[in-house]
């Protein structure tokens, strides 16, 4: 340990109307490390992930109690601007969702909405981000072609490049490889491994092997509770809670 805490939840409860989706979650996640959220469907792991960029705000009836801290600042305070927050906390979704624009326009979208107009800056950012996302060599000759013409795996890496282009410090990934074939999945996993040198990454996954391969820490959620949180190695070899043991050995979920 010894490293700085980047993301933290303190006594966090979340509700969809009357449904109690997250029950007093307490967790502190390390900077520049990969934390995986695992657990059966409906356990609240995606909901929890989405509290870090307040993506749940648009769902009617959703509310939280407690605190979510990023760099020790409570992001649910009134003075926090959600659009500013999301420039620091990037997100990659389950299904690749590039905009129906060119590859280049997708990558520079975030910079453009921030008002960056200079072509040289945009072009450089596009190349850097695409290289970081290990996509540059595949698309450098067709930057102005539609992003929708790319394969699913390429689209997902494009979405990662798009998220990286605005230099966030946190990257939230909601089952980023669940819609991809094994080869694309391997590429995305490799990428996550590379990216953790510079970013704090939280990844939700259904895939136990994937959690084992890419993450430093793992949190197991069950029925809205955080059951266990530990180093991935420790968690997978000697889980403390019986429910964790049952889940990772495939007895349910």
């Amino acid at each position: 340990m010894g490293k700085k805490t980047k993301l933290e939840a303190i006594d966090l409860d979340a509700y969809y109307g009357d449904f109690h989706a997250l029950k007093s979650i307490n967790i502190a996640m390390e900077e520049k490390a990969v934390t995986a959220f695992i657990g059966p469907s409906g356990c609240g792991k995606s909901t929890f992930l989405r509290t870090f960029n307040r993506m749940n705000d648009y769902i009617e009836g959703f509310r939280t109690e407690g605190q979510i801290l990023i760099d020790n600042k409570d992001i649910y305070q009134k003075d926090v601007r959600v659009d500013e927050l999301r420039k620091n906390v990037g997100m990659v979704f389950q299904k690749p969702n590039p905009f129906p624009k060119s590859i280049y326009e997708n990558v520079v979208y975030g910079l453009k909405i921030q008002g960056v107009k200079k072509k040289s800056v945009l072009e450089e950012a596009a190349e850097t981000s695409l290289r970081r996302a290990a996509l540059w060599d595949e698309v450098k000759d067709k930057l102005h072609k539609s992003a929708l013409a790319l394969s699913g795996g390429q689209q997902q890496r494009l979405c990662i490049a798009r998220a990286l282009a605005i230099s966030p410090s946190v990257l939230l990934m909601d089952e980023p490889a669940s819609a991809l074939d094994p080869i694309s999945t391997a590429k995305v996993e490799e990428l996550i491994y590379e990216l953790k040198n510079d970013y704090t990454i939280v990844i939700v996954t259904h895939n136990m092997q994937q959690a084992g391969r890419v993450s430093d820490y793992t949190a197991f959620f069950y029925m809205g509770e955080l059951v266990e949180f530990n180093k991935t190695k420790t968690m997978f070899t000697s889980p403390k809670d019986e429910r964790t043991q049952n889940y990772i050995t495939g007895r349910f979920g």
Binding site: N53, M55, Y58, E60, D83, E84, L85, R86, K87, G90, M91, F93, K95, N97, P98, F99, P100, K101, Y109, G110, I113, Q114, L148, C159, R162, A163, I166
Partner: protein, 291 residues
């Protein structure tokens, strides 16, 4: 197959065929009558002559003044309806709560159910006097008020169809935009509207097609003076109002004057037919973009 099934199938087939036959019949009448017209008035004169005076002693047969009048009122109508309709569509989609949407959408559609004759009188007796307080030179009959009121009439067409188009953009795109730190406005204009653009364009084309064919409002409020101008402040005449004017008058059946309405009619038909096909083509071409 049982006999009753056969009969039902036959009846369904018959109703489909009757619709097609009626359409063909209308086109046939339009064509045959206007052929008679074009045998007397060459097509070149019809398209290039700058005056339209079939009912005067000195007859001139240039369709352009009527086309100009039609385009003018349509242009004003779209200039009113597109920004308002699109704003409403975006508001309903991005900002309004579900309950608000459930109330506003049907209310807007009421606008489309008001009889056009009411709109016409509204243009003549309310909008024109009001506009005259701002623009003193405005004539009592003019293209401007007729166009504005026509625009109000087609707002629900644009807002409703555009709202459908925007709401059919996948949720994942909206999330992508928000996830990048876009504000609601940036999400709407930068992502949702472009992604829904084909549907929005279709809504506008259908609205244009409706405006081109609109008769009553312009007949009441725009005057009936064919004039080759794009000045919205003076009286004009559209293709549709000319047809009404002649159909109601005492023009002898079979005369050249009588045949002018078919020539005007076929011009109108070419316009709306082209617009409807264009919208159909755009819809088909861009529909499957997300599948």
């Amino acid at each position: 197959m049982r006999a009753s099934e056969k009969i039902i199938e036959g009846l369904l087939w018959l109703s489909a065929v009757i619709t097609i036959l009626i359409t063909i019949g209308i086109i046939w009448v339009l064509l045959s009558e206007s052929i008679g017209f074009f045998q007397v008035v060459p097509l070149s004169e019809f398209l290039t002559e700058k005056e339209w005076t079939p009912l005067f002693a000195d007859k001139k047969f240039g369709i352009m003044p009527l086309v100009a009048g039609t385009l003018l009122t349509t242009g004003v109508a779209i200039a009113v309806a597109l920004p308002i309709g699109l704003t409403i569509a975006i508001y309903l989609n991005e900002y309004a709560h579900d309950r608000m949407r459930l109330v506003v959408k049907p209310l807007l559609e009421v606008l489309a159910t008001i009889p056009t004759v009411v709109y016409g009188f509204f243009a003549l007796t309310v909008v024109t006097p009001f506009l005259q307080t701002i623009i003193p030179s405005l004539a009592g009959f003019n293209a401007l008020s007729a166009g504005i009121v026509m625009g109000i009439m087609i707002i629900p067409m644009i807002s409703s169809l555009s709202e459908d188009a925007i709401s059919s953009v996948p949720r994942s795109l909206r999330e992508a935009a928000y996830g990048m730190g876009s504000t609601r406005l940036q999400t709407s204009f930068g992502v949702m509207v472009p992604a829904a653009s084909s549907g929005i364009v279709v809504s506008v084309i259908l609205a244009i097609s409706r405006a081109v064919g609109e008769t009553m409002i312009v007949a009441i409020a725009a005057g009936q003076q064919p004039r080759l101008t794009l000045n919205p402040l003076v009286p004009i005449e559209t293709i549709t109002t000319y047809i009404v004017q002649v159909s109601l008058g005492d023009v002898p059946r079979g005369s050249l004057e009588y045949k002018t309405i078919f020539a005007a009619g076929i011009t109108l038909f070419v316009f709306t037919f082209a617009l409807n096909n264009l919208s159909f083509w755009i819809k088909k071409k861009y529909q499957e973009k997300y599948d």
